[in-house]
């Protein structure tokens, strides 16, 4: 029953493969960098094809790079090639018109997207069970940069327009009208019900096509006569005949475009059917997409390369066989057989889906359409779609096909409802984010809305600026291990997004590192630059407010000061050690925070980190920094300055899931005001500096805590705090905070670092592990001696009430008491 949902005849895919041209001789470009392999260029260009969505086009699913410049294209593949129908039962003229209409629709869509087919033939037009047709492999010419990146010609012998041949064997003519000609030939074949010039050899066929250029009678008529079908020619309805004839116009300039052909009367009858409307009604019931199916198939063990090997499309031959027999002194190579694999291989291998069908067989139907706003107990009980994997490690969950099935279905549905479902998306993202939908979910978490595309289009991304040089030297150094980002298309896009951001944010400037920061967004939205830009534009104000100011020293100093204070708060032992060896965050943490770690971690780690970051506020990164130090804590504690700094110059492997979990822990247990900054964009009551210069606050070793947080703790969580009032006993007796203890500052000798000096309360502090130690004094007196002393004594969680005792006075209902009352 359920499997039938998966066993949709249109949801099938196959793969083809070919080799990109290898660079001969020169391996370095003019900038001294190695030339980008052609397969990488193809990889980058082909991404756009995945975006093409049309009922008459097979959807591109994936591009895979194999060894030695091999490229594998995975695409929807369903139905039978039109060529297999030729010579059998003749299509009715009405059917031919319908087919023609669909071919032209598909071509029109492609041409609008500036993609020329150039190899249209009956081989790559697939007829579905329901008689719909879909073009297959239509992007080859486009992805190979008009054929320049491969060593075989992209041409379908009998179908190529004369001007294609006249352009020469290495021609890369990309006039969309070549497709119109091919369509004309195909229609002629359908009408005559036979493939043209079938008995001829390659050279003869080309000559045939070229011979059509001579003479000025109807080409269709000449073709019909040549194939002994003049009688059929005469019987063709005039409207259809006319279409074929205009398609087969010799001069490209006189040949109509697809757009004009579609306006022809013949097709008027189909237009009323309003296919598009019907599709709109179906959409809400969409169970899943072919992209999702392909994703699950891979997770369930599907391996395209393996299938190609099994079917003999990928064969490895010993390298010695490809050595030339002789190389002349001037470099001429003799006796090297052309590797047949470098020719075009038109075979298509259908991918077997049985394993996936079986794997998903038991999944009940309602899981394909989970209820989102379930209020009814009965309904939610009946819906036992829960697949228990939540306890498994993240990396395993991401690879579990069934878990990803449920996650993808659910989150895709929620995304359809965005922005109304934003809260639900957040709730689900806390569990994890399915990799397939990460780009879209991030955009939702970042609150990207409105017409971001329109906005992006309006931005000038081309005019040269003085910043260009820096951007240009940074891009070829930015996450270049990644195929997408190292492709020419990737470079172009990254440059455009960066330029757009700088143009749009004239108050900011390009700092090295902005490239790394942009890379994850571009990678996830490679086909939607505008969205990458929109995400970046939301991300920076939220997490890196003012970091990209021309003079950002105030922001950076405050940030790093907060970082030091957070370390002292959570881990005074480590903080003291780092202070003793003068290992200050300025020396290692700038690239961490300026790029939100995107400069120090590879993409796959950044994803897991940012999955969480996006759910937190701008203080979260401080906790991530702390968490990294904590992972390396033992090494750091045992090392001197040089060893420590070396450790960070070449950051050792960091366990990202552990890092994230630890960050979350400190993030959720640290009162917000501890990490609040004056330079953050979020509003925070505490942020008033109360007249204390920011530099002075930055110098403090300990963090400050706001009145609100303290009051909150006293009222709701008094078990979690120790309040130490350091004013003199008289002041304390007159009025003090509930539950506070009095350790007058003046009673302590700070000379030696020994917690016993505190007196009777020393053991309370010594045994403290988790309680927050709030110091209450007055801003007028020397506030920092005592907390600094405590930190030096390795007492954790020490902070100072910002504004001192006086800030408690206006709190109502009061939390103050007079000691006399007791």
């Amino acid at each position: 029953m359920t499997a039938s949902l998966l066993k949709n005849p249109e949801l099938q895919f196959g793969a083809t493969t070919f080799f990109a041209k290898e660079h001969k001789g020169e391996t370095c470009g003019s900038n001294g960098l190695p030339l980008t392999p052609n397969s990488i260029i193809i990889y980058g260009k082909a991404q756009k094809l995945k975006m093409l969505k049309h009922p008459n086009l097979c959807t591109y699913l994936d591009i895979i790079r194999g060894k030695h410049e091999r490229t594998v294209i995975v695409s929807q593949y369903c139905g039978e090639p039109l060529s297999s129908y030729l010579g059998k039962e003749r299509f009715s003229y009405d059917d031919i018109k319908k087919i023609a209409y669909k071919i032209f629709l598909a071509l029109h869509y492609m041409h609008m997207k500036k993609i020329v087919h150039r190899s249209l033939s009956t081989e790559n037009i697939l007829v579905q069970e329901n008689n719909n047709i879909k073009l297959f492999n239509y992007g080859l010419f486009y992805m190979t940069d008009n054929g320049k990146l491969v060593s075989f010609p992209i041409v379908q012998l009998s179908y190529a327009a004369p001007e294609v041949y006249l352009d020469g064997p290495n021609g890369s003519l990309s006039n969309p009208k070549v497709d119109v000609w091919s369509a004309g030939i195909i229609l002629a074949e359908l009408v005559l019900n036979k493939p043209l010039w079938q008995s001829l050899k390659v050279g003869q066929r080309i000559r045939k096509v070229l011979s059509l250029v001579q003479g000025n009678t109807s080409i269709f008529e000449r073709i019909a006569r040549e194939h002994n079908c003049y009688d059929i020619y005469l019987s063709v309805p005039s409207d259809l005949k006319q279409i074929i004839e205009v398609c087969l116009t010799i001069m490209p300039c006189d040949r109509p475009t697809v757009q004009i052909i579609l306006k022809n009367e013949v097709f008027a009858q189909f237009k009323t059917a309003k296919e598009s409307n019907r599709r709109k009604i179906y959409e809400p019931f969409e169970q899943f997409t072919i992209e999702e199916l392909y994703h699950w198939w891979q997770l369930a063990g599907g391996d395209v390369l393996l299938e190609l090997k099994k079917q003999g499309l990928i064969r490895s031959s010993p390298p010695i066989l490809s050595l030339p027999q002789m190389v002349l002194i001037d470099g001429l190579i003799l006796g090297q057989e052309r590797n047949p694999a470098t020719l075009y291989d038109s075979r298509i291998i259908q991918m077997p889906l049985e394993a996936l069908y079986q794997r998903f067989e038991h999944i009940s139907l309602n899981c394909y359409y989970p209820l989102i706003h379930v209020k009814s107990e009965i309904l939610s009980n009946g819906n036992d779609s829960s697949y228990d994997a939540e306890q498994l490690p993240l990396v395993i969950r991401e690879k579990d096909p069934e878990y990803q099935f449920h996650r993808v279905i659910l989150l895709r549905r929620l995304l359809h409802g965005y922005p109304h479902t934003r809260d639900l998306i957040i709730t689900e993202s806390i569990k994890d984010i399915p990799p397939l939908l990460r780009g879209k979910i991030w955009a939702a978490l970042l609150n990207v809305r409105g017409d971001y595309q329109e906005e992006y289009i309006k931005i000038d991304k081309e005019t040269p600026t003085p910043t260009d040089r820096q951007i240009e030297v940074d891009i070829p150094r930015c996450h270049q291990y990644n195929e997408l980002l190292s492709s020419s298309e990737g470079h172009r896009k990254l440059k455009r997004v960066l330029k757009a951001w700088i143009y749009k944010n004239s108050q900011y400037v390009y700092w090295q590192g902005l490239d790394s920061l942009t890379a994850p967004f571009l990678f996830l939205n490679f086909n939607d630059e505008a969205k990458a830009f929109a995400c970046l534009s939301k991300f920076i104000p939220k997490y890196l407010h003012n970091f990209f100011l021309r003079d950002n020293s105030a922001v950076i100093h405050e940030y790093l000061a907060k970082f030091s204070q957070l370390i002292a708060f959570q881990d005074p032992v480590l903080a003291n050690h780092l202070e003793n060896i003068n290992f200050i965050p300025e020396l290692f943490a700038i690239p961490w925070f300026l790029t939100m770690f995107s400069h120090v971690f590879p993409l796959h780690k950044i994803f897991h980190l940012w999955d969480r970051l996006l759910l937190g506020d701008s203080s979260f990164p401080l906790h991530v920094g702390l968490s990294i130090l904590t992972q390396l804590r033992d090494t750091l504690l045992a090392s001197g300055f040089n060893e420590c700094i070396l450790l960070f110059s070449d950051l050792p492997e960091v366990d990202m899931e552990q890092c994230v979990n630890f960050s979350l822990e400190t993030y959720s247990t640290t009162p917000k005001s501890i990490t609040a900054r004056t330079q953050q964009s979020e509003k925070c009551v505490y942020v008033t500096t109360m007249g204390i210069p920011a530099q002075d606050l930055n110098k403090e070793k300990f963090p400050r805590i706001s009145v609100d947080d303290v009051v909150n703790l006293i009222r709701n969580d008094s078990e979690r705090i120790i309040i130490i009032d350091i004013r003199n006993p008289t002041q304390y007796a007159r009025s003090s905070a509930k539950g506070s203890i009095n350790i007058p500052c003046s009673s302590i000798t700070f000379g030696e670092v020994n917690i016993e000096n505190v007196g009777m309360h020393s053991s309370l502090l010594k045994n403290n592990k988790d309680k927050i130690v709030v110091i209450i004094g007055t801003e007028e007196t020397n506030l920092d001696l005592f907390p600094t002393f405590l930190i030096h004594c390795n007492i954790p969680k020490v902070c100072v009430l910002h504004g001192g005792f006086n800030s408690l006075l206006p709190v109502t209902p009061t939390i103050l008491i007079t000691q006399n009352q007791i």
């Binding site: 003019s30 001294g32 960098l33 190695p34 820096q470 030297v473 940074d474 070829p476 150094r477 930015c478 270049q480 291990y481 190292s486 400037v509 700092w511 090295q512 590192g513 490239d515 021309r550 020293s553 100093h557 202070e579 060896i581 003068n582 290992f583 200050i584 300025e586 020396l587 290692f588 700038i590 690239p591 300026l594 790029t595 400069h599 001197g640 300055f641 040089n642 700094i645 070396l646 960070f648 110059s649 530099q695 930055n698 110098k699 403090e700 070793k701 020397n782 920092d784 001696l785 600094t788 030096h792």
Partner: protein, 215 residues
């Protein structure tokens, strides 16, 4: 504020020779190949897609010079002009500097000259400065003439070599030349602890970290 000499450490049981430790800083326009030179010198590697440097990176390498072991503590700085304000933190207290430019780009040579001036004005007076014309492997795209750079080096008393991090040409040589020129007979020796961090922070105006504990 100078190198530390000690005979106490004896790698591989060798008792002879002294060990000198020097702080060296690399300066120069972005993408001229500073990080690449350091990587070549320290690890003998070259990465075509060397990542850009943000802030600064730190590495160490030891070379042997007759009976002396010279340990370089190398600060590789970010080249982008904007990071300029951080530079003093790294070059203050440095005994040596390599100012790098890219021979295929005239502007980077201009920037190198500015760096030399700044070092002469603001760094330690005895600092040994070397000028490195990097990317010598791209000599066919040369925009800065060897003679021009040599003349500038002579005028300013700099060591000069054209180098290539890619082919390793002159990379060890330039560090060795610096090592030779550095004074190895001791004047001052900071007692105890690694002098490194301390020097750095002293240079850093004391404002940022010297903070509260001494108030």
């Amino acid at each position: 504020m100078a190198n530390r000499t000690s005979a106490a450490q004896r790698p591989n049981g060798s008792t002879q020779g002294k060990i000198c430790q020097f702080k060296l800083v690399l300066l120069g326009e972005s993408a001229v190949g500073k990080s690449s030179l350091v990587l070549r010198f320290v690890k003998g590697q070259f990465h075509e897609y060397q990542e850009s440097t943000i802030g600064a990176a730190f590495l160490t390498q030891t070379v042997c010079l007759d009976d002396t072991t010279v340990k370089f503590e190398i600060w590789d700085t970010a080249g982008q002009e904007r990071y300029h304000s951080l530079a003093p933190m790294y070059y203050r207290g440095a005994q040596a500097a390599i100012v790098v430019y890219d021979i295929t780009n005239q502007d980077t040579f201009g920037r190198a000259k500015t760096w030399v001036k700044e070092l002469q004005r603001q760094a330690s007076p005895n600092i040994v400065i070397a000028l490195a014309g990097n990317k010598q492997d791209l000599a066919n795209k040369r925009m800065v003439e060897y003679e021009e750079a040599q003349a500038h080096a002579d005028e300013n008393g700099l060591l000069f070599m054209e180098t290539s991090a890619k082919t390793a040409m002159n990379v060890n040589d330039i560090f060795l030349a610096i090592a030779k020129k550095l004074p190895k007979n001791e004047q001052t020796t900071g007692p105890g602890g690694s002098g490194q961090g301390r020097r750095l922070v002293e240079g850093d105006s004391g404002a940022k970290t010297a903070g509260n504990c001494c108030k």
